[in-house]
């Protein structure tokens, strides 16, 4: 998988690019990435698969995370921002 690395983009802030991946991989990669980060770290997920834009916030909230922020970057790209709990 070409997009499987978490990039550090600032202090305690990371980015995961899952563009081009179909369900269930964006959701699974997001959950795995969060497990690899420290408490209170923030993860920005860049994605272009609309079903995952709906699925990821549901999956994250189900696991007790705060409701993530979902932003549309352009016509076919979204960014979901989620913070690991304390």
């Amino acid at each position: 998988m070409k997009n499987s690395d978490i990039q550090r983009i600032g202090k305690g802030r990371y980015s995961l690019d899952v563009r081009g991946q179909v369900c269930p991989y964006p959701e699974l990669l997001t959950l795995r990435a969060l497990q690899n980060l420290s408490p209170e770290d923030t993860l920005e997920i860049i994605l272009d698969n609309p079903p995952s834009v709906k699925d990821i916030p549901i999956a994250i909230e189900k696991r007790g995370y705060k409701k993530p922020e979902v932003m549309r970057v352009d016509k076919g790209t979204w960014k979901i921002i989620v913070q690991n709990p304390k």
């Binding site: 998988m1 499987s4 690395d5 978490i6 990039q7 550090r8 990371y14 081009g20 991946q21 179909v22 369900c23 269930p24 991989y25 959701e27 699974l28 990669l29 959950l31 795995r32 990435a33 690899n36 980060l37 272009d48 698969n49 609309p50 079903p51 995952s52 709906k54 699925d55 549901i58 999956a59 016509k75 076919g76």
Partner: protein, 506 residues
């Protein structure tokens, strides 16, 4: 940078995915569906038992046979996916790639290849298409060169003389024909029932003859044309039919010949030899053996039924089973058919009833689209049982018709090419969305394909069966000897058909 350990996912990417179920008007609680590709519907008893296990564990014990010979499960949670894919990998099955979720004209893949479900069994079969089926299916599995096409691409293969695969709805269909003493394939291209541009299209006969040894190269060259020249401007223009609409047949054929490096022979004979399908119990080309087609109206099949049918395939056949493009299941290679029928009866499956039990389909509207209850599969079942209760089954069979029901305008269940097609629409009434249907009449496929005409719109679901009964009552009374329902509908005016639908004969 933090490197994620994704070896467990990497082995599935490009071969497995989940589709998203979403019907906000009828929440089923299903987050995802799993569409298991079963090339040509060929499955054996142990594979079917394993699919039944998956169904029991992950899909509330319920599955569907699709009209492309897949098995579809719902209620799949993404976090169970890798475990499920692992089981499927051992079974040798993959899934559709479900790239339609993306907003652009991208990530199209080759869908499950549909093949005559009684290939190698049918009496008077011209050609057994299974070697082409296998060669092509194996070629596309996980092949990265064909996972980012403008949109999906659908193949079908049939060699029995019937249009049992609904060849006219596929992007490329191989239909076995005889030219002088040679048996090979003619091609139909550019079919699609979907609303994308230039709208629903019956596949065009190409008038070419392809030798069997060239069929694989022709198939790959055609899908490459779709991949390389198909429009990526928008999803609406990305199906192969749009390219064909713009290019025309002549340009397509000359490009195809250039790619395969061969001049294609001409063929001007018939495409299909017979109308009908493979219903009920039929003698095989192997002396003393039969295939038994088990009807599953709407394609519903439970985990318990799968296990029972797998057991019966072992007991009475050689363990092979075939899923049909009409959402049914066949047990082939049966010698003691009467004993099999008795055992089928014990598990509540009857091979009696009208042909409508084998010829009626419904889409999975409860899980997708903009629909609400009652849903397509239950409607098709209800209408079949109603007609069987009120009209002599022999009369129904002689009328020679199918009922296809799609819950919305997307024509997933090919309602445009059924003699009686029903297409759903929603209307808001007092703030509540209500399900209605349009009635289309006179479609059909086989020797003389045609699209149905929309005769009625916004019909409440409880009236559909009564209106169809009324139409049939008028048809039986007014038809000419041996005139099929399709012929009767197509010679009648829309005004007359409206009257027939709304006034029980007399």
């Amino acid at each position: 940078m933090i490197k994620l350990d994704v070896d467990d996912m990497n082995r599935f990417i490009g071969r497995y995915s989940l589709g998203r179920d979403s019907n906000p008007l009828n929440p089923t609680g299903s987050p995802h569906f799993l569409r298991i590709k079963i090339p040509g519907g060929f499955i054996d008893s142990s594979q079917l038992r394993s699919v039944a296990d998956l169904t029991k564990t992950y899909s509330r014990g319920q599955a569907e046979i699709t009209n492309r010979q897949d098995i579809q499960l719902h209620w799949i949670d993404a976090t169970d996916a890798l475990e499920i894919f692992s089981v499927m990998d051992e079974l040798g099955f993959t899934t559709d790639m479900c790239g339609q979720g993306f907003s652009g004209a991208r990530y199209g893949d080759a869908r499950n290849i549909v093949c005559c479900p009684v290939s190698g069994l049918e009496k008077d079969e011209l050609l057994n298409g299974t070697s082409l089926l296998k060669e092509l299916s194996d070629f596309f599995i996980g092949n990265p060169d064909f996972q980012d096409m403008p949109r999906k691409f659908k193949f079908s293969i049939t060699g029995c003389g019937y249009d049992c695969t609904r060849a006219i709805t596929n992007d490329l269909s191989f239909v076995a024909v005889k030219k002088n003493d040679d048996v090979g394939f003619t091609l139909l291209i550019g079919g699609s029932m979907g609303a994308s541009l230039p709208g629903p299209r019956l596949a065009t006969p190409t008038g070419v003859f392809v030798q069997t040894e060239d069929a694989f190269n022709v198939a790959v060259a055609t899908i490459e044309i779709h991949r390389d020249y198909g429009s990526r401007e928008s999803k609406a223009k990305a199906r192969f039919k749009w390219l064909l609409h713009n290019w025309g047949l002549k340009k397509f054929l000359s490009t195809l010949e250039e790619k395969v490096g061969k001049h294609l022979e001409l063929y001007n004979g018939p495409v299909f030899l017979r109308d009908g399908g493979h219903e009920r119990i039929q003698p095989q080309s192997q002396e003393g053996y039969y295939y038994v087609n088990v009807p599953c109206i709407g394609g519903y099949i439970s985990c318990d039924e799968m296990i029972s049918l797998a057991d019966l395939a072992d007991k009475y056949g050689n363990g092979d089973l075939r899923l049909t493009p009409s959402q049914n299941l066949i047990i082939p290679n049966v010698e003691q058919k009467d004993l099999l029928l008795k055992d089928l009866k014990k598990i509540g499956i009857s091979i009696q009833g009208s042909k409508l039990r084998w010829n009626s389909m419904g889409c999975a509207s409860e899980f997708c689209g903009k629909t609400t209850t009652p849903h397509a599969k239950e409607i098709s079942k209800e209408i079949v049982y109603h007609l069987e209760r009120h009209i002599d089954n022999e009369l129904l069979n002689a009328a020679g018709f199918r009922i296809y029901v799609s819950g919305c305008h997307n024509n997933c269940c090919a309602n445009l090419i059924a003699e009686i097609g029903l297409a759903g629409n929603l209307t808001r009434e007092n703030g509540v969305m209500k399900q209605y249907y349009s009635i289309l009449l006179g479609g059909g496929f086989g020797k003389k394909p045609s699209m149905g005409r929309r005769i009625e719109e916004n019909i409440p679901t409880d009236k559909l069966k009564l209106m169809i009964e009324s139409l049939l009552s008028n048809y039986f009374e007014k038809r000419k000897t041996s005139e099929s329902l399709k012929e009767f509908c197509n010679k009648s005016t829309i005004k007359e058909l409206k009257l027939y639908l709304n006034s029980k004969g007399g």
